[in-house]
Amino acid sequence: MMLGRVVGEVWATRKNPRIEGRKALLVAVLGQDGEKRTPTGEVVVAFDSIGARIGHTVAVAWGSGARAVFAAPDNRWTLVDAAVARIVDAVLVEKDGKEVEERED
């Protein structure tokens, strides 16, 4: 999983029926530079599973783990390799030997 911030959306009409009704989000990858977590500049695309909106800090799951997010009875057929799995409320990081909780607004 990876921390990121939602910065955009991708709209598509013609798509594989197996991804019908899913919304793709652009997620800027957050760096791990201490408490700041500035975006690294990398942007990834992932399907939304929980109603994340632009500005939300989210965690993205990859590969077969993302497929499990959209688990269906015929799970093997789920055509997903990146999914926004959760909206982050707070992050606990170590700072000067102490654990500091940072809440997302």
Binding site: G8, V10, A12, A24, W62, S64
Partner: protein
């Protein structure tokens, strides 16, 4: 998952019987997180019917292998959707250059910038007041 541009198609006569009747497309990614190979393109199976020059979403890895209905297919990537419109927050479209040169050319045909640039808007309002003063 890749957002990229379809830049070409691959024609092959002799192929593995499991990928008979599948169209192959060459996609140059705009974004590709942690790529498995250090190349700037990916050959993907296209069942959606995308054309050269269109922006597409590509599924990579094992989930993409299932598009042909068989996990034994020699498929590593598949086109999932043809992109109509990309909305991206103002300022984020000029992301720092990553491993791919194409990222600097991130210009989907359908790019829309959303969200007001608050700093800029405030400046305009203040600027208008200043212009009105003299």
């Amino acid at each position: 998952m890749i957002l990229g541009r379809l830049v070409g198609t691959v024609w092959a006569t002799k192929k593995n019987p499991r990928i008979e009747n599948l169209k192959l497309a060459i996609v140059r990614p705009y974004f590709w997180y942690n790529p498995s190979h250090d190349v700037e393109h990916v050959v993907a199976v296209d069942q959606v019917g995308a054309e050269v020059g269109q922006d597409v979403l590509v599924c990579v890895g094992q989930p993409g292998r299932w598009v042909a209905g068989d996990y034994r297919c020699p498929i590593e990537a598949s086109v999932m959707a043809i992109v109509d419109r990309v909305e991206i927050e103002r300022g984020c479209e000029h992301a720092a250059p990553g491993p791919f040169a194409l990222r600097a050319q991130f210009k989907p045909t359908t790019l829309v910038r959303v969200g007001a640039d608050e700093g800029m808007t405030g400046g305009e309002e203040r600027g208008g007041g200043e212009r009105g003063t003299p």
